[in-house]
């Protein structure tokens, strides 16, 4: 029953007027950036992070979390009506959602996406409440080797599951670690990789890095590919799905919710992978798989549910282990540390207002999103028609002000622009920035836990293999890396022998 006491306490925090307001702002902004193609939750959180500095930590995380799960709702609208994913996690919704819209069933597609998201989001929050406390208790047994093992596994999984080449993913993660080492050595206090620049003594901030790599780079890519977005001209009616639609979708929503939640917990997992996995699952178990891609409502209900419950699942490792499972969580990790909080097993006991307040606000936020998304769909359709040429100068300016406002430093503005150019070139050369940012955020933890472990073991790496959790984590990570790299060596050998 203690869970209900905690939840009751959480609602007493979340229902404070200030928190209701920031929750509403978060889900509204989330839906907006989800609707607008070209800026995802990551860029939006990076841009808005400095705006939360004057808020209390609880308000800040309630708002930023609202942006994350709100974007999942909004992204489906663009996928269904424009056939362009408003958010990466809604890519798969285009397949059947847009087909339904073309067949004159945009209403039920939008409706089931919103209701499915609501049900899955709510189930995900229940999962977060149930799993977080035991996991936090378990995490108290973690020492430096265990933390190192889990961080290493998390980084490996993200590289493994990231789009494109594994080799490039690994390179990005290593580069992220190197960037995180810039500044003062945490143990000796001597400077490293600072190029004798005083501004780099404190290291590179998460905001200039993320804002440049995701915010500015995204804008540059969009300016370059300035293809007009055609909104499907169709009358949106019957937003409330009929009984037949519900019967077809109920299983997909339930399965998507469960699958999404657990994939969200996994380090390296998240909303994108969950939505694809759910689509694959629905197609595989369907009696009519040939209907998928031609307007099957299950193809909308499953992935939309999965990406929403994954957002709740992703909070579990952040709040209990202090390890962000994906790059959006890495930014929230950054936000928590900027606000003086240390995510980890003690967060729930030391800051119950934050944990239970955020969890309860998610219930409220999901209800707000349902209200925002079902009756207000015509409004979001109008938002979709705002030309990008008006939006991009504004987004650029927000990036610059955001970067400047943290330390009132022009140097951070320069860094943001440099990282913007780097991020743009990453896209051009097919490098994914997500493993870099996750490794950058985890870098200090990675280093301190590795060095503490080696100090404990007097320099022996066997310490990582004599403790079950670290041993299993590291072995799984190594196996994944070996499997991933195998094709490179076999292909290279075949080519060489062929010559």
């Amino acid at each position: 029953m203690i869970i209900f006491d905690n939840l009751f306490y959480g609602f007493s925090v979340a229902l404070q007027p200030e928190h209701i307001l920031v929750c509403f702002l978060g889900v509204l902004l989330g839906t907006l950036i989800g609707v607008l193609p070209g800026i995802g939750p990551l860029g939006a959180i990076a841009i808005l992070l400095p705006a939360t500095f004057r808020m209390s930590p609880v308000s800040a995380i309630i708002m930023l979390a609202g942006i994350y799960y709100g974007a999942m709702y909004g992204g489906s609208i663009t996928s269904i009506l424009v056939n362009i994913p408003g958010e990466a996690a809604t890519v798969v919704t285009c397949l059947d959602g847009h087909e339904m819209a073309k067949q004159g069933r945009a209403g039920p597609a939008l409706g089931i996406a919103a209701f499915g998201s609501f049900i899955a989001g709510t189930l995900g929050i229940v999962g977060l409440m149930v799993f977080a406390a035991p996991l936090a208790e378990f995490a108290l047994k973690f020492g430096p080797p265990e933390y190192f093992g889990v961080i290493f596994l998390g980084m490996t999984l993200l590289m493994y599951l990231s789009r494109g080449s594994l080799l490039k993913g690994v390179m990005m993660a290593v580069l992220g670690l190197i960037i995180s080492f810039v500044g003062l050595d945490p143990i000796e206090g001597s400077t490293r990789l600072t190029f004798n620049l005083l501004q780099l003594w404190d290291g590179i901030g998460i905001v200039p890095l993320a804002m440049g790599l995701f915010g500015i780079a995204e804008i540059l890519i969009n300016i370059e590919e300035s293809a007009p977005h055609e909104v499907l001209k169709t009358k949106i009616k019957n937003i409330f799905p009929n009984l037949s639609d519900w019967m077809k979708s109920k299983g997909a929503i339930l399965r998507g919710s469960i699958l999404g939640f657990f994939l969200g917990i996994l380090p390296g997992g998240g909303a994108i992978i969950s939505s694809f996995a759910s689509y694959g699952l629905e197609k595989r178990i369907s009696k009519e798989p040939e209907k998928f891609g031609r307007g099957a409502i299950e193809g909308v209900a499953g992935p939309e549910s999965a990406n929403n419950s994954a957002t709740a699942g992703a909070f579990v490792p952040l709040f209990t282990l202090g390890i962000p499972s994906n790059v959006v969580m890495a930014l929230l990790f950054g936000a928590l540390t900027i606000h003086g909080m240390r995510p980890g097993p003690f967060l729930m006991t030391n800051h119950p207002d934050l944990f239970w307040g955020v969890v309860s606000s998610m219930y409220i936020g999901n209800i707000m999103l349902l209200i925002l998304n079902v009756p207000l769909i015509p409004l979001w359709v109008q938002v979709l028609k705002i030309p990008y040429k008006i939006l991009f100068p504004l987004i650029l300016l927000f990036c610059i002000i955001g970067a400047y406002s943290i330390r009132s430093s022009i140097f951070d503005v320069h860094l943001t622009i440099i990282f913007g150019i780097v991020g743009y070139l990453f896209r051009k050369f097919d490098y994914e920035a997500a493993p870099l940012v996750l490794a950058f955020v985890l870098g200090p933890l990675f280093e301190s836990n590795l060095r503490q472990s080696l100090t404990l073991s007097k320099g022996s790496f066997s310490i990582f293999f004599t403790r079950p959790i670290s041993a299993v984590s590291i072995i799984v990570a190594i196996v994944l890396l070996v499997i991933g790299f195998m094709p490179y060596f076999t292909k290279a050998r075949e080519k060489f022998e062929g010559k």
């Binding site: 690994v170 580069l175 050595d185 022009i410 050369f429």
Partner: protein, 165 residues
């Protein structure tokens, strides 16, 4: 014979984007290793500040070499560098970047209001064919609105510049 020499020369200069990026990361990793060595690597028993940067640099160089080698063995084609900006309006990107860099340089000297007004007016100008007064109006509204939000409401200390505002 001269023909074959020419084609091998072409093959050398027509490196694909992965090879180019591989060489770039290799150079970066060597630099990181040198820097790490300068501050002290130490050993596993007593790690210096350069311990992890050094080994990260070593790993990055190893992966860069794998990237270069595997791509040298691949057939050339779509991934050539010249295809990167094909059919793209990259001129706009360069223009936006130049404007941003100039803005970053002028911001502390001119102050937020003047520098941002200039930047926004020019950015709205790049965005599409619009009348001058609309661009000026859009620039003014944006600057004033952001000034109110960030300076007045959120109390962000925006740069004042030599004119004091």
């Amino acid at each position: 014979m001269p023909c074959s020499r020419e084609s091998s020369f072409k093959r050398v200069i027509m490196i694909n984007r992965d090879q180019l990026s591989g060489f770039f990361w290799l150079a970066i990793s060597i630099f990181v290793c040198i820097e790490a060595n300068r501050v002290g690597i130490g050993d596993v028993h007593s790690q210096g500040p350069g311990f992890l940067p050094f080994w990260s640099g070593v790993m990055l160089s190893a992966f860069s070499i794998i990237l270069v080698v595997t791509n040298t063995l691949k057939k050339r084609g779509k991934r050539e560098i010249k295809n990167l900006w094909k059919a793209m309006s990259w001129g706009k990107v360069v223009l936006v970047l130049i404007l941003l860099l100039i803005y970053a340089l002028l911001l502390p000297r001119l102050g937020y209001l003047i520098a941002t007004f200039g930047l926004m007016t020019l950015l709205f100008g790049i965005a599409g064919k619009t009348k001058l007064w609309i661009k000026l109006l859009a620039g003014t509204i944006t600057v004033l609105a952001t000034y109110i939000i960030f300076y007045v409401w959120l109390e962000v200390q925006l740069p004042k510049g030599i004119l004091g505002f």
